[in-house]
């Protein structure tokens, strides 16, 4: 009856252990919808990874969450420190932290004035300073970092490292990272720890060689939790099937069937994120052509859906509803029976499943 994510638990856990083992110093990221697996589950799994440190040889002392609102969910399930990726600001949820968990939080600070404000509120606050990268989202320039270094002085402070959020490039990040690390040296900051995301294994190895006196800690979300797609299966349940003749009307909008076939009602709708396609970011010619083609289908009436039956992707008979979708199966194709599960292709970061079953 539901949109279900089934996880091959054995295979998934094996992948998690292998990933952590391959990337010592890893900071798992659990944010948003928990990559479809839910934040709470990821936090528990991070604790499980921490408990297996003696097997992997990779102690796990830090879990990254996206926002301050997510801290509590993770804190009750994971015992270590929590790095909040959204920069601290002197307003909002950052100020409402439960004092019992706030001691476990490592803040991200991206403005010099915020550094002063945070330390004034909490002199023992631990934090990383975020550097401005070519993404131009949040972060401090070289001169900002120097000002921060000046403000912190040589004494021991809560500074735990420098964070950089790099764009998802297809080309190498090494040039940019080298310049950013040089800026850290130039700033006079007393830290030699750098938190980075989206680096390939080869890039991380390159950095370790060029900066043997630095500790480079990879922040990993997708490649950790969703890195082995074969361990994850998404299915929807067939809820109802209706045979239609050409011209028969159906659905909220009273559309008419273009030819003989079946309307198949399946679980999974806009409430799950179905039909609300997040842009893939794929700007290749092929991807753009595919978008055009989909638009073309739209013009003649039906749009390709993420649901497939017997390996064939089916068209939406009308736009998805809140919790169910209507598909059109033309005559000649096998009609699934009610209660049968069919495959769904989704973006995990944009999908909320009714059930996650870990085997």
């Amino acid at each position: 009856m539901s949109l279900t994510l089934t996880v091959d638990g054995e295979r998934w856990r094996r992948h998690l252990l292998a990933t952590v083992e391959k990337q010592p110093g890893i900071v798992p990221v659990a944010k948003g919808n928990g990559y479809g697996l839910t934040l709470g589950r990821l936090a528990r799994r991070a604790q499980w990874l921490a408990d297996h440190a003696s097997d992997t040889g990779a102690p796990l002392d830090l879990l990254a969450v996206g926002t301050y609102d997510e801290v509590e969910q993770a804190a009750s399930r994971y015992a270590g420190d929590l790095l909040v990726l959204t920069p601290w600001r002197p307003f909002g949820a950052a100020l409402d932290l439960d004092p019992r968990t706030s001691a476990r939080v490592v803040h991200t600070v991206s403005r010099v004035e915020d550094l002063a404000a945070l330390r004034e509120r909490d002199p023992d606050a631990r934090f990383v300073l975020e550097q401005l990268t070519s993404m131009l989202r949040h972060g401090m320039t070289r001169r900002d970092l120097a000002a921060a270094a000046e403000a912190l002085g040589p004494a021991r402070s809560g500074l735990r490292g420098v964070a950089m959020h790099l764009p998802l490039n297809t080309t190498s990040h090494l040039g940019e990272v080298s310049r950013l690390i040089n800026d850290v040296v130039a700033s006079g900051l007393s830290t030699r720890t750098v938190f980075v995301s989206h680096l390939t294994g080869a890039e991380l190895a390159g950095l370790a060689t060029s900066y043997p006196d630095f500790t480079v800690r990879p922040r990993v979300g997708t490649d950790l939790w969703l890195g082995d797609r074969g361990a994850l299966a998404v299915t929807a349940t067939v809820l109802d099937v209706h045979e239609v003749e050409r011209g028969d009307t159906f659905g909220y909008r009273g559309r008419s069937a273009p030819k003989h076939g079946h309307i198949v009602v399946v679980s999974g709708g806009t409430a799950h994120g179905i039909g609300l396609e997040a842009p893939t970011g794929d700007q290749s010619l092929k991807a753009r052509a595919a978008t055009l083609a989909r638009g073309g289908l739209d013009a003649v009436g039906f749009v390709r859906s993420p649901f497939s039956i017997d390996g064939k992707q089916r068209l939406f008979a009308e736009p998805p509803h809140m919790q169910a979708s209507m598909l059109f199966v033309p005559s000649g194709a096998r009609v699934p029976r009610i209660g049968e599960d069919i495959d769904v292709r989704v973006r995990f970061t944009a999908t909320d499943f009714d059930r996650v079953v870990v085997g």
């Binding site: 040089n182 800026d183 130039a186 006079g188 060689t209 006196d213």
Partner: protein, 378 residues
Amino acid sequence: MTTPLTLRPISAQEHRDFITTRSSASFLQTPAWASVKAEWRAESIGWFRDGHVVGVGLVLYRQLPKVRRYLAYLPEGPVIDWTGDDLEAWLAPMVAHLERQGAFAVRMGPPVVTRRWSAAQIKAGVADESVRRLGDVPPLERSQDGARVIAQLHELGWQQQTAEGGFSAGQPQFNFQVPLVDGDGVPRSEDDVLKGMNQLWRRNIKKADKSGVEVSRGERADLKAFHDLYVHTAERDYFTPRPLSYFQTMYDALGAEDPDRIQLWLARHEGDLVAATIAIRVGTHAWYSYGASSTEKREVRGSNAVQWAMIRHAMAAGAHVYDLRGITETLDADDPHVGLIQFKVGTGGEAVEYAGEWDLPVNRVIYKAFQLYLARRG
């Protein structure tokens, strides 16, 4: 608020006078170096603030074939304050001036240290098979000033000229230096410097002494004897020797500035010249510049003896640094360059990395053509 810097050409005398006020500057930035590089047009430039010279530079102009455009080159310079965070204030008037002089690009080598490694670290690095380059070894120090210079040069559009592996065409980025003063600037004793050397070096210095090797300062007339040995060395070690006239010009030009600026050193054993070197000193910085050694009588260790004599002389002259100049970055035990590093590392001391050489293209089209021309020339 400080008044802005201005820049204009200065006389060789003004240039020299400023350098004597500094603890040191590269000898490639002395006005005398202009006469050594006679095939390049040279110009002394000075930075002024409130009417006083606050920085100088020796610019060598190298003309492009067929066009009246030049690469303006400041080897190991200019001699300015590199420690601040306002390099643009220094560089902008320089670039504007050089552009007016017909430069299509400016090349310079900021005399700024970015990293240091100890002799012990290098030795361990050569022994460690997983270490291939000096940069693979965690440095003793990363210089904040050096990193700040690099960051600013990137910001100002300068491009670092990288040399992979061996020596670059320009000045070496990695050098080996023996500090002659301690961290507080107190001169070290000869004993202390000797103790810093490895056992082989100490034994060889002693051996040379016992075998009766005599080291003495030479005069201009001895350049011929130095040069003969140097040509012999070049044949043995497969490098192209410079002509005798090059060293005569250098000796005359540098010697005219200061009687101790350039020194010729000769190590003899029973009348045979077994090693000969040229040393240079500007203020507190002493360089071992050129060396030659005989293939016969290597067992008397003339090379070690002459190095030790140069080091002692530098110490007596009040030098803070004895600079053995370039090393390659390789620490690969199979690389033919590693022998040179090991010889230098034996003196104790440390490897230092400089900021390297940087280009600012002024005319991008000509600069591109120039790079193409260099690449084709190989």
